[in-house]
Symmetry: C2
Subunit: 735 residues, 2 copies
Amino acid sequence: MKFKVLSIFLVAVAFVYAQKPVDYVNPFIGTSNFGATNPGAIAPRGMASVSPFNVAVEKDAGWLSNPYVKQNTFLTGFTHVNLSGVGCPDLGVILTMPTTGNLKTNHMEYGTTYTDEVSSAGYYSVNLSKYKIKTELTATTRVGVSRYSFPAGESNILVNLGLGLTNEQGAMVKVVSNTEIEGMRTVGSFCYNSPEHAYPVYFVAKFSKPAEEFGAWKKPRKYNGVEAQWMTYNGKTRLMKGYTKEVVGDSIGAYMRYNFKQKTSVEVKIGVSYVSIENARENLEQETATKSFEDIYTETKAVWNKTLSTVEVEGGTTDDKTIFYTALYHTQIHPNTLNDFNGDYPEIATGKIGNTKGTRYTVFSLWDTYRNYHPLMSTLYPAQQSNMVNSMLSMYKENGWLPKWELNSTETFTMVGDPAPVVIADTYLRGITDFNVDEAYAAMVKGATQLNNNPLRPGIKEYWENGYLSVDGGGEGPVSSTEEYNISDFAIAQLAKTLGKKDDYKKFYNQSLSYRKLFDKKLKLMRPKNSDGSWYTPFDPYKGANFEKNVGYIEGNAWQYAFMVPHDIKGLMKLMGGKKQFVSHLDYIFDNNQFDMANEPDIAYPFLYNYSKGDEWKTQQRVQQLIKTYFTNTPAGLPGNDDTGTMSAWLVYAMMGIYPVSPTTPVYTISTPRFTSMTIHLDTTYYKNKKLVIKRTGDLDGKIKSIKLNNKVVQGYFINHQDLLNGAVLEIKMD
Amino acid sequence: MKFKVLSIFLVAVAFVYAQKPVDYVNPFIGTSNFGATNPGAIAPRGMASVSPFNVAVEKDAGWLSNPYVKQNTFLTGFTHVNLSGVGCPDLGVILTMPTTGNLKTNHMEYGTTYTDEVSSAGYYSVNLSKYKIKTELTATTRVGVSRYSFPAGESNILVNLGLGLTNEQGAMVKVVSNTEIEGMRTVGSFCYNSPEHAYPVYFVAKFSKPAEEFGAWKKPRKYNGVEAQWMTYNGKTRLMKGYTKEVVGDSIGAYMRYNFKQKTSVEVKIGVSYVSIENARENLEQETATKSFEDIYTETKAVWNKTLSTVEVEGGTTDDKTIFYTALYHTQIHPNTLNDFNGDYPEIATGKIGNTKGTRYTVFSLWDTYRNYHPLMSTLYPAQQSNMVNSMLSMYKENGWLPKWELNSTETFTMVGDPAPVVIADTYLRGITDFNVDEAYAAMVKGATQLNNNPLRPGIKEYWENGYLSVDGGGEGPVSSTEEYNISDFAIAQLAKTLGKKDDYKKFYNQSLSYRKLFDKKLKLMRPKNSDGSWYTPFDPYKGANFEKNVGYIEGNAWQYAFMVPHDIKGLMKLMGGKKQFVSHLDYIFDNNQFDMANEPDIAYPFLYNYSKGDEWKTQQRVQQLIKTYFTNTPAGLPGNDDTGTMSAWLVYAMMGIYPVSPTTPVYTISTPRFTSMTIHLDTTYYKNKKLVIKRTGDLDGKIKSIKLNNKVVQGYFINHQDLLNGAVLEIKMD
């Protein structure tokens, strides 16, 4: 009996301390195994975030896309603009570092090991071993906030603008007063592309305690030539004590110095902006003004809790809740806010400063996110999704083209395909229609049909002429690109149909099936073709897994792209020779290590068994197995790059028991809900009901016995988007 | 008869075209033989100047202190802030370059040979051979103005912020519109000193014709490490077409591009400021507004003519007039204006922005200029001299110390000694008293007596204890420094006497004779001593000529410093053993190649014969010989570095026939006037008479037979400053 009382007590404690969604967020998930997330502090969709930076040692030794790796041990500061879950290095700059004792500016000298890391939504803290400084981080949308608790004695706060994750160089810094530093840092060339579009991020840093000494430092380029003999300072770091003018260069920084009589906390607020130092200052003032670290964290935590409470769950383990809410948290990082508090933002391509009344979103990794992320936003956060579509349309207005992989108003042209039409059409077809659909339609048709100087669709001419991109046609990953263009053309067709454009519908729908020309009936797989129509030989359908370079495919092999025609699964099934062959193929992929959970092309595959009556239990089994294998409450708890929330969106859907298996076919396919009950609070601006409840009765590992929507039995495993969201209760009974 | 008519006609032409002082200026004088002047366009005491830059090839190969060398042939642009006649590299930045055809940003590629150089006061023009572009330059005080006459076709104007004379690196540039570029460039570490005080110069460039295309470029540091394999752009120049954000880095620039249907001129105005971009823009607006190149040049030329017309000459050859007015022109370049049009200027040491109602002057090369330059300014331009003293006192207020070698509000601590008291006391003793003399006196006493942490007088403790700096005492050039401190202490003594501070007078006067302790009676020369009082051995009095490093002396040897106690020539004569030995020593120096016309310590020596009755003819002879040898109407027509006008001031005085042989003894010593008549228009704010006329009758190469001031015979070869300037006519009759 004693034991039972105790366990009730423990449950009660857990209830008190971890009852709210926000309390289940574990930002360490994804900080190892190339998840590329970071445990730093951020507000939902924040422009600013503060991440510990512990990759200085390995940064130049490889392709590193994140400021933090859990298993690393050498911390060199905290960066104030960061990307989460991406596959290329950029940002990771405006680095601060508290130290004690003599001033050191070389990160290899001042870096330290650390202990006692704590991270939750909007908060991170760590103890710096060398200095006995506790560092705590929080953030508002545009301001990173730090609290450094120093021991008594000499202390320093560095603002290091040399070190960063980006490979761009160049910064400016100016000490404004003994409580303020302003400056800018050049970032860009994401994925080693478009270095000519590298751009500035501006900042203003305010310190809660006036420095007793301040200054800047600069380590200039080493000078060669005869003159260097007179330059005793050649290539050495210069400390510029009391300096208050602009310092520019590649390896520069500024510092504040103190001598504390007793333990003292200093709060540092850093406002950022992609427009100007003035705007960075205004962002700082408007969002944090006289608020303390505590005030700010309390507010940010509350905002996080409100955001995450869109979905409330019951049942499931603490780990289930943790991976679920952390995934939901990861879907609320990118796309993020680009505009300043006053609405200003840098336009794409024009060089002008635009102004927006809503939010101008940025970081659109559309090749990833069109598949499930944006449908999820349409389901859970339709106002955000609407705003994102409007941001994409603004980009079109500015740039003349819809975005492909947009980052801070630069088009990085990363990855292949033309995913924007899928996102926009899918949004519209899910009933989120508060954007200019005619303009959107014109934009997508332009991208899909302009044959010359089309930056979105390389190889477009042969695509329209022959139906596919050829190996020798110059386009990248010709099979992958053909499939991507097909998906996009299907999206345009669906929207055309809805808008009553029958001819367009036919044209784009027909084109969306052109992948069939690449189907090799012998192999029962898509296979690259030469421009003369012959098959590319020799061909190895296994080549291309694990990001191996290969002819035909982008980041995958023939198996991983075998089913990537979600809009024509039934057609594909026929091509393959029917249900049996289709399922056998699917099984082959899963059972022979050809399924890649870490990348997007095949992530819908576990749900495809639902297209084969009688095999739906395999979807249920595969999905639960994949969750168990790849998604855990550990730093390695993501299968790979989170891809700006795409992997997390997969998990959220998979745990909800529904999946948008074919974007622009606004239908969900059903698998096992992870929780016994989930309440989704719907946005009544877009949906009729206030909430949707998804219930599971019976064993998680069982097979689905029945599906009821509002007490009516659902035939099959597909439910229309509107039916689901206007239904009130989805009940799934397990065997 | 025909011949005679023609020659009268020629004279008439010469009269029409070259009658005014401004027309005699040949800015090519000093552009070879290390004169370090440049032929660019500048207004009197301009902050901005525009100089052709033709030293890109040799820049890093040696110690090069000027943006232009006459015999060079490869021009890579036009720089907008420049130093004239100095011995160390700095400034020479904000470089523009017009080109045609494809855009090239590497100066080794776009550089060109050139022809048809023309230079006059406030104007320079050249034809760029490769491009057939005529470039013309002019300037106002704070704005450099260029007119590029392009042939039809593609044309470019580069603003290159990478290349420069300074060894500092780092710049920012931003294209504001198709007619405007703004930015900043880091300069500093003059004489390879104080790199930690490197500072920005800001600019705004306005183009008279809107560019059809514009952009920026950046050549980043080459990236090492594994990551570089993905950076196809590693270390390459990036062209950023249409880019309108800030670009920062070491090797950057911006460009405007045109395609002209016909020959077209573009005027470019570049306002500069040491305070801010906003001030640079205001300087540009206020000084040039809507004025054309022609308007501006006409005005600047008129200002030059007015300035130079302070002295009007008759007689002498055209070359005589040319070297005279060019020398006078060279005295009106530095010290130059530091403050913006609105009065703002960067204070020294405080990091603050000050504001002045008068002119804040900068570039005080006081080790050079105290000897004759500032007395000349007191004679000819007393309002300027007063303003310069007030600028020096402002520096004292800001910095706590009088300047030593001040450059754009940085103290470069170049050279030795403590020259500011000499300049200030000399000014006061010449009757220019409109400054706070009490404060000035306190400032000089502080510099002369503060024993600890005294940046002006290294070795001050042993100087006051033993009367001299010792070889092992740590001070630089101990004999030179002792002599310099003596001269300075004499200056303080003279001012103390005038202010009625008798005790101070005695103290400083006594100390001013302490050099005598270094007089080796055997050698009859000053000689370095050890701190124990023993002579430094082995000692070679010839070592140290031609800037050879040596123990005891700075930029000179024992012979060149043998007479550098101008305040105690009679005492020195006694030490040497009397008149005969004194003159024999002087002769030895001149006859045995120990006189260095190219450096300051001995430049008064030719006038010292006047201290020996009966030997004055030697002064007359030596001075005329030196003028003939070293000062010519050729690029090599200065003996060496102009030293911010010091060499030119020597020439002006020498040609006027008067020389301020001992600063702070307000006396001129007499030699042969070069012209038969000179009219010096006096500033009646400071002097009673409107003008002083100096007349010479008889042969230039003859000996002086009589000297009359206002018809009264002058006994000896010395005339008091007040007597001379309040006299109306000085008549010198030659044998």
